[in-house]
Amino acid sequence: MGLDKIGIAKRIAKELKDGYYVNLGIGIPTLVANYIPEGINVEFQSENGVLGMGPFPFDGEEDADLINAGKQTITTLDGAVFFDSATSFSMIRGKHVQLTVLGAMEVSENGDIANWKIPGKMVKGMGGAMDLVASADNIIVAMMHTNKAGESKLLKKCSLPLTGVSCVKKIVTNLAVLEIVPEGFLLLERAPGVSVEEIQNATEGTLIIKGTVPEMEA
């Protein structure tokens, strides 16, 4: 039970507010762009140097000089602008981007995030993630609640090398929506058909349950 990747993206899309500039990370976060609520105008920033990113191009219309940070071919919308990498990260560090959505391997109950390195196994690099998490006021993590081995990714303390400290504000997983509060992971919503017990069992860090936890609206 619980949400699939599209379900996670749809739930995160509800966090978009009119007038937001938004940076979406690679993977589930990219899908958020497909579910912008009606009546909401947002612009997507990609850290390789574009603001006003549109959908993927039609077959045959792709342009090698027009990609997003995931190196995928893209299009631009009216009002779009290109800029260099230093300007791009001025937007990010300077807090001109209102929302960052990114994936994670682990999140700890104080908001630390790890998503760039598994020592001895996988070292691809942090890309722009460290700059993004160090500065954004509003960071939402999109991820599965547990890893492929079934182990919790919501921990007391991250075991992998950190990407940033005390920065994550909200987490949307296949099982739940949680907020980072001083005491730990505050359970805000359950995914459809998922019980509080299931979420508790899948959460290694401190889970805070206040009253009746509502089920996510479809």
Binding site: S46, E47, N48, G49, V50, P55, F56, P57, F58, D59, G60, E61, E62, D63, A64, D65, L66, I67, N68, A69, G70, K71, Q72, T73, I74, F82, F83, D84, S85, A86, S88, F89, I92, R93, D112, K117, G120, V123, K124, G125, M126, G127, G128, A129, M130, D131, A134, S135, P161, L162, T163, G164, V165
Partner: protein
């Protein structure tokens, strides 16, 4: 007008030597100096330190220099998508300094702008901060990052003029402008080289003062790394 045009790729890379530090523009395979990379691969020099956001793919971009073991050290932010790179790194043949992308961009910019170092919040509390000075500003911890410079910077632009002024296309701009600023010798290769006076001075992205040599590039492959499309309804 100071004429920066060079006619051959050999002239463009003249003076490159083993053990030098190079900057190479581009994000993934977008906006990489294809002609210069080709020429460097053929030059046979090695022991290079390459500053580039990515390391190409196995058979294109900087992957060509990795294949021939010409690179001693990479300074990058993201190096996925390259199996040979991963192999050399995990086996210890290749030294790798991974740094946050925004810090990489700013360190290049600083190198060209006469700023020896700066404080940034990126990387605080992570491996990246190890050994670096930490200072609080406005109650937030920041780490000290130093400027990067290079013996040569190789950049790619869409249009350029003989005075060295450059205009980039789309997201092929990325790291090219900062690297152009930070090279002791900056070599720009362009898809269209025009006489000085033909480009609108108000539309130039990189002023020619940062460019020492400019060459009309040829045979651009402009390979797409992740071709992603939608189908018409």
């Amino acid at each position: 007008m100071i004429n920066k045009e060079v006619k051959s790729i050999d002239e463009a890379i003249a003076g490159v030597q083993s053990n030098m530090t190079f900057m190479l523009g581009g994000f993934g395979l977008c906006g990489i100096p294809e002609n210069c990379i080709d020429a460097l691969a053929k030059s046979g020099i090695n022991g290079l330190t390459c500053i580039s956001n990515n390391a190409g793919v196995d058979d294109f971009g900087l992957g060509l220099l990795l294949q021939k073991r010409q690179i001693k050290k990479m300074i990058s932010s993201y190096v996925g998508e390259n199996a040979e790179f991963e192999r050399q790194m995990l086996s210890g043949e290749l030294e790798v300094d991974l740094i946050p992308q925004g810090s990489l961009a700013e360190r290049c910019r600083a190198g060209g702008a006469g700023i020896p170092a700066f404080f940034t919040p990126a990387g605080y509390g992570t491996e990246v901060a190890e050994g670096k000075e930490v200072r609080e500003f406005n109650g937030q911890p920041h780490i000290l990052e130093t400027a990067l410079e290079a013996d040569f910077a190789f950049v790619k632009a869409w249009k350029g003029d003989t005075a060295g002024n450059l205009i980039y296309k789309g997201t092929a701009r990325n790291f090219n402008p900062m690297m152009a600023m930070a090279g002791k010798i900056t070599v720009a290769e362009v898809e269209q080289l025009v006489p000085a006076g033909e480009l609108d001075p108000a539309s130039i992205h990189t002023p020619g003062i940062f460019v020492q040599r400019i060459i009309q590039g040829k045979n651009y492959e402009k390979r797409i790394e992740q071709r992603t499309v939608r189908t018409k309804e």
